[in-house]
Amino acid sequence: MKTLEVSLDYVSSDLAMRSPKSLELGASTPFPFRVVDAHGGALAEGAVNSRQSTRVEFDDPLNNDVLFVRLVWPTGRATTQMVDYSGSQGAAVNFTDEMVGEDAWAKWAAPRVPYARVPMSSSRSEGRVDRGDAVDRFGNVWLRLWTHTASGWALVDGMPRSSSESNAKARQMDLQLGPGSHLLQVGGAQMPWVFVSLPGNGPCRVYLTPNPAADAMNLPLKLVVTSFRPEAETLVEFLSRDALRAADSIGRFGPVAMKLLQGKVEDAVSAIAGAYYLLRVGRWRETPIEWFDNLYNWFPWSADAALIRCVVTLRKGLNTQDDTLRALEQLRQSVDRGVPLFEEAHRVQVEAHTLLRGLLFPSSAEADSSDRYLAPAQPDKFKPLIDKCQAFAAARAWTGPSFSYFGGVPDQPSSQKTRGAPPSLSCMGSGDTGQTMISLSDVLLTETSTPAARDRRPTPRRRKRQPSVTYLKDL
């Protein structure tokens, strides 16, 4: 039996992850690791964060003198270190983030941004992060913020920013959002109009940078969102990349998922992340049903909570027509409450609406199914709901762990990828909010720029005033 103590010194990344007004170091981001032999055969795995080292015990059938530890980021990027076991059965290894060549404020985002394939090794000097071209290329990308209210979606007047950061590669803004569902809409000449769900009821940070992995599936601009919940966000980050093994290492670290769900009174967003993980890995069966009930009932603003409860209802099996109506009501709530927070919701929503559609609107092949008695009396009443879910599935965009979709207005997800200037609200049939356009340059100049920086900055071009549009180049 061998032992290994794995520690992580990612303090500078953790510091960068602090919420804007917090003086204290928040929670630390956990990362999965694997102990492997020279052929990459796994001997042990676990997860570690800067606050707490992790000790693993494992059998090494070949009793190798040399083993390797791979610390994996959500992007798949990994750092490998050698561990020497010559004459010993115990060893220790420490990983640092000193090789992450980012400005201090940007270090938190590095593990979540794809990379041009430059191998990173802690033992070589050229291991800096190289993330391709400058963000200025996307200067004309525009942003605007929507919030969900009792009467539907409304544009927010400007960005409720508390601070901004920028360098040649990225822009970052800190937002303070009210309760409920929020969408950041981004678009431009190269960037299809896309909605990205933002966590509400507190501080939220958005980091924008050119996407080195841009291709037909990945948008040219990468958005990284945090609401300063590193455990939960790392978990859903791995889930969104289908890296279940890595997610499992994180999920069992604590074990995080159960802890997140149990602690739902304190933090609904983390509880939602934990619930999605349990659904994905099949451990929903072992979870008390009351926890899902509580999540659904205690957080009436959460679309995710309603969607999660709906799919648990469906997985448990329907016994009566009332069960069906309950599942449909939960699905309706998930739409009425705004949009979900996490990408995982797309998958769960497909599961829910696909199963319910088969029951409500059976094809001729399905019409004699033994569960016909479960169908409600007036299935057509639910068609708009099912169609809306289908529309979200067809409009699905992938920006990472945040729920994202293409479209011009929040209520009309679209499979078409439209590019260009921000859609005019009057053209889209949405009421003019009468709000003013705020160029990000205006905000930046008045809030965060130094006089010297202001001198270097070109005079912001005044555009035709359009409600609540902000340009990336002005950030």
């Binding site: 990459g40 289908d242 099949g282 199963l355 599935a393 409009a395 699905r396």
Partner: protein, 395 residues
């Protein structure tokens, strides 16, 4: 229905395979009875070839007991293989000895009813034993509106109901989850996922191959859906060749992915398979105008799909830049297992390409004459299916 193989002694837990390849569409352009409006869809040359290649891969070890590439899973050995191929000429397969002696079998076509019947047979075998693994491969036309639809051989048979001879992929997979206790179900779908305006506008939703009663609890252990392309995108193949996706799939299954745990055998699970397929398609994209990126989703507590005969393989390609330094340099490769020899190659011979075993290596470029500073990668993770690096050196 065409049963190509049924194990003589049914294993306690087995792998059941259903392969469907559709190249000949009766009512599409170039078909034997084309519809008035074929929606721009025509015949495909690749699916019969791709499906046949996959069938051959599954059966190879049964034809040849020596270690050759092919399906191997000692925990869940091949228990049955059902196949349908719609091609201009009937496709025959050499069926290995199982419940029946070895013989040639001609495969049935793949109308929606034939696919339904074959699926039903496959499903019944799959759910008969908790813990079984099911693999469903489809190659042919496909469309998508958030969920994916596979188009059968008799598409447009009834022009008044254009999307009738179609089945929904996602619903079929989800439905199985309610009927296959503790089973592992994998769908490999090699088809386009374009969004046809007609389906969107008419709001049609073709049904899955089977809808399980919603009274059932979800009982599967895991499932995965590996799709040849992303939502709204096309999948490609060269005329009369195995498709890009299936080529990548077969290459991966031949040993270009895999992991082992605690000194156990090398195995490929659904995630590793999907990851390698994605990487291989990316390599192809570098030289192809038409880009194709596969898509993947998995759920539950998965198990390996196949077991490998040895350590996974990696196509390694190392090179030196700038060209002027080639004549002065050499590239080396040192496996970190402490036993394998150092491999050195002069750069003048061009890029250093080699198939190597997965593992941790020290890689580098150096000049024995001191023309440039050495460059090296220490403890580099060389992972399947492909690893490349250019050493940028300076005097």
């Amino acid at each position: 229905m065409t049963t190509v193989y049924l194990a003589a002694d049914a294993p306690p837990i087995g792998t059941h395979v259903l392969v469907v390849g559709i190249g000949a569409y009766t009512h599409l352009n170039g078909g034997i009875n084309p519809a008035t409006n074929t929606r721009g869809l025509g015949q495909l040359t690749s699916p019969p070839i791709s499906a046949k290649a996959l069938i051959d891969w599954f059966l190879a070890p049964l034809h040849n007991p020596r270690p050759v590439a092919g399906f191997r899973n000692p925990v869940a050995p091949l228990a049955s293989l059902e196949a349908l191929i719609a091609a201009p000429q009937p496709i025959s397969v050499s069926a290995p000895a199982g419940q029946e002696p070895a013989h040639e079998v001609t495969l049935d076509g793949a109308t929606l009813q034939q696919v339904r019947d074959a699926f039903e047979l496959w499903r019944t075998r799959l759910i008969a034993q908790p813990g079984n693994t099911g693999i469903f491969y489809f190659c042919g036309h496909g469309v998508s509106t958030g969920t994916q639809y596979a188009l059968c051989q008799d598409l447009l048979r009834n022009e008044g109901v254009p999307w009738e001879m179609v089945f929904e992929v996602d619903g079929t997979l989800l439905s199985l989850g309610k009927e296959a206790p503790n089973c592992h179900v994998h769908f490999w779908i090699d088809a386009c996922r374009e969004v046809p305006a007609e389906i969107l506008l008419t709001n049609q939703h073709p049904a899955p191959l089977r809808t399980s009663p919603l009274t059932n609890e979800t009982v599967e252990r895991s499932h995965s859906l590996l799709q040849a392309t992303g939502a709204g995108r096309l999948a490609f193949a060269k005329e009369n060749k195995t498709s890009r996706f299936t080529t990548a799939l077969l290459k991966t299954l031949s040993g270009y992915a895999g992991s082992s745990k605690a000194g156990g055998p090398w195995q490929i699970d659904a995630f590793e398979l999907a990851n390698a397929v994605k990487e291989l398609l990316k390599v192809e994209n570098k030289s192809s105008e038409r880009k194709q990126n596969s898509s993947f989703y998995d759920s539950g507590d998965g198990v390996p799909i196949i077991q490998l005969l040895g350590v996974p393989k990696v196509d390694l390609c190392l090179d030196l830049s700038p060209d002027a330094m080639r004549e002065h340099g050499e590239i080396y490769l040192v496996p970190c297992d402490g036993a394998s020899p150092v491999d050195v190659r002069p750069c003048i011979e061009g890029a250093y390409t080699k198939v190597v075993s997965k593992g941790v290596y020290n890689l580098g470029a150096r000049s024995v004459t001191g023309h440039f500073q050495p460059a090296r990668l220490t403890f580099e993770w060389v992972n399947p299916p492909f690893y490349d690096h250019i050493f940028e050196v300076a005097p």
